[in-house]
């Protein structure tokens, strides 16, 4: 009886505070180093950019955002009427729509095929070869593919013109140069880059499917096609959704590939909102960083809206 009474008695207020303080002091030192970098160079900059977006801070005219004038929503009003912003947002959306299906479904097919390879040495070899592009940093990939697509040196047009003779020098495709083919060319490049890495995600998912499921489905006489949809695809669906959301995020805010392949040419579809933002902030005119920050935040809000919608659309319906 006595022991129960002790247990029920609430600990003193001082004791509770002391306990949570020491727990804090014993655990947070492990988190602080990561959080310093995360908050200092990732979280704070974007919050700060929001503040700058309400000023008319131009780098060449003002010393600091504080000395610039607070102009409220003016940058946003102007940006939303700016055809370059509108086209930039639209072009980013078009590219995302071209890019996403190949980026999530090609690796799924590849993973299902690799998973069915019985010879283990062969399966490992496939994985390793497919992963090679993932070991090359993005910007270097883009440099390589600018050469691949080039009319002068590029092997793609060499094969099409000189070997196969499908085109001649006057009508050969100018992959990254022409408006019609730019995005599909960039998407092919991204698929080449991401195929192996995304395949690994699906392979990790496939390895968790119990083999008995397939066995019993086969015993029940289900067709292979039905087994694929009802078991394999159903089990891979969560991974598919995660990849859709993650890759949407990267695709809509791409900037390196656009600048490295298209430069700052305003007539090109690669002049999306991100490139326009960079151009405005660091290159043209008075380097109007207030306006650039507003463009950045319009893109960010648009992206967050779609991500939230995706989460809503993919919510667990069970």
């Amino acid at each position: 009886m006595a022991s129960r009474a002790v247990a029920v008695r609430p600990p003193s207020r001082f004791h509770t505070i002391w306990r949570s303080t020491t727990r804090f002091a014993r655990t947070w030192p492990y988190l602080v180093p990561a959080l310093v970098f995360f908050i200092g160079w990732q979280l704070w900059p974007i919050v700060r950019a929001l503040w700058i977006s309400f000023t008319n801070f131009s780098f060449l005219l003002d010393d600091s955002p504080e000395s610039a004038k607070w102009i409220g929503l003016e940058n946003y009003v102007n940006a939303l009427q700016d055809p370059l912003v509108r086209e930039g947002l639209l072009n980013a959306a078009i590219f995302t729509a071209i890019f996403l299906p190949g980026m999530v479904f090609l690796p799924m097919v590849t993973a299902v095929l690799v998973d069915r390879v019985r010879n283990q040495k062969l399966a490992t070899t496939y994985r390793l070869i497919l992963l090679i592009p993932a070991m090359i940093p993005g910007p270097l990939i883009f440099i390589l593919w600018v050469w691949m697509y080039s009319n002068g040196i590029g092997p793609i047009n060499y094969v099409l013109v000189d070997v196969l003779g499908v085109y001649d020098l006057t009508n050969q495709p100018t992959w990254l140069g022409s408006t019609n083919t730019t995005f599909i060319s960039l998407a092919l490049m991204e698929w080449w880059w991401g195929l192996g890495f995304h395949t690994m995600f699906y392979l990790a998912g496939l390895s968790t499917i119990p083999k008995e499921l397939y066995e019993s489905a086969r015993v029940d006489g289900a067709s292979e096609w039905r087994i694929f949809w009802k078991i394999t695809f159903a089990r891979l669906r969560p991974i598919l959704l995660v990849l859709v959301v993650l890759r949407f995020g990267t695709a809509y805010a791409l900037i390196d590939e656009y600048i490295l392949t298209g430069g700052f040419d305003r007539s090109k579809p690669t002049y999306t909102w991100t490139v326009y933002m960079w151009d405005t902030a660091f290159q043209v005119g008075d380097q109007n960083r207030g306006y650039a920050a507003a463009i950045g935040w319009i893109g960010t809000i648009g992206m967050l809206a779609v991500v939230l919608w995706l989460f809503y659309a993919f919510r667990n319906k069970d």
């Binding site: 804090f24 014993r26 655990t27 947070w28 492990y30 990561a34 959080l35 970098f37 995360f38 160079w41 990732q42 900059p45 974007i46 950019a49 700058i52 600091s64 955002p65 097919v109 590849t110 095929l113 019985r118 283990q120 496939y126 390793l128 070869i129 497919l130 992963l131 090679i132 592009p133 993932a134 070991m135 090359i136 940093p137 440099i143 390589l144 600018v146 050469w147 691949m148 040196i153 092997p155 080449w192 195929l195 690994m200 990790a204 390895s207 066995e215 959301v245 995020g249 900037i255 390196d256 490295l260 991100t274 933002m277 960079w278 902030a281 650039a292 920050a293 935040w297 992206m303 991500v307």
Partner: protein, 297 residues
């Protein structure tokens, strides 16, 4: 030998039981056909750029994929044609190594605190880290990163890049480490704690050896992020001596007046080679790290 046994034992757990039915040959042919096709597509551009780097000039301009004359001197030209290049390579190496080391260390510490310690507020920290994946902070925050670096007097400084570089893959690294730490049973840490080991001792003596493969994955992830980083380095540095290999390569690509194709290709091979060699060396642990939960995090 050890390699084979280990890969086979992983493989054995994943392998489907052999089917009784004899396989229809055409589906097997189609399967391997498609995979081989993908592998060839993957390998072709790399093979092409390597061949380009050892082509003689006339062969490079006539575009034949297999050259008539080989010329290996492009590698020497590549390393001497830009006088800042040794400095640029050094910048890239130092920045990349430091980023790998720092980000991996802080990610291991954070992952440990998020899984195996009774950290107050871990839910909030995790939510903010997840949220950061869906915000294009790299692009939108660039203006303020410039401002921060400017206040610290670190514009046009190679070493200054080290600070923003830590965030390149930080959130992802913490997730990977969290996923890997989750595969370690809590009882292991508990029993060590009962024996009187402090939390850092547990991390160093018990956890680190067990999450080795995950650490390899994080190291490689940060290597790729830092070695090829272009946007920040291009925005925050101006002088050619302060810039990294990737930035110099990209600008040489834009105006290759002094550059000849085989030389460019040789420089490119030099730029991608460290990553490929590192991958070949650690691929066994890297693959296992991915399997062990890095992808589930």
């Amino acid at each position: 030998m050890a390699t084979r046994v280990e890969t086979e034992s992983i493989a054995a757990t994943r392998r489907r039981p052999a089917r009784r039915r004899v396989r229809v040959p055409w589906s097997s042919i189609a399967k391997h056909g498609i995979l081989l096709f993908f592998c060839l597509i993957i390998l072709f551009p790399l093979f092409w750029v390597f061949l380009l780097s050892i082509k003689s000039l006339p062969d490079a301009y006539t575009n034949h994929i297999w050259p008539n004359d080989f010329d290996f001197s492009s590698y020497r030209t590549a390393l001497t044609a830009i006088d800042t290049l040794p400095q640029n390579i050094k910048n890239s190496v130092v920045l990349t190594l430091a980023t790998m080391l720092i980000t991996t260390t802080v990610a291991v510490l954070a992952g440990y605190a998020l899984v195996h310690l009774p950290t107050p507020g871990k839910g909030i920290v995790l939510a903010i880290l997840v949220g950061s994946l869906f915000v294009p902070s790299r692009v939108t925050g660039l203006i303020s990163i410039w401002e921060i670096q400017d206040r610290l007097g670190l514009i046009n400084s190679t070493w200054g890049l080290l600070l923003p570089y830590q965030t390149l893959a930080l959130a992802v690294s913490v997730f990977i480490m969290r996923g890997v730490f989750q595969t370690i049973p809590r009882e292991l840490a508990e029993s060590a704690r009962v024996d009187g080991a402090g939390s850092f001792m547990i991390l160093r003596r018990i956890m680190i050896p067990l999450v080795r493969n995950g650490v390899i994955v994080v190291l490689i992830t940060n290597f790729i992020a830092a070695w090829g980083e272009w946007l920040l380095a291009n925005t925050l540095t101006n002088d050619q001596e302060q810039r990294t290999l990737t930035v110099v390569m990209a600008s040489a690509n834009a105006g290759f007046g002094q550059w000849l194709w085989p030389t460019m290709a040789a420089m490119y091979v030099v730029a991608i080679l460290p990553g490929l060699i590192a991958f070949i060396v650690v691929q066994r642990w890297y693959m296992r790290g991915l399997q062990e939960g890095a992808l589930k995090g």
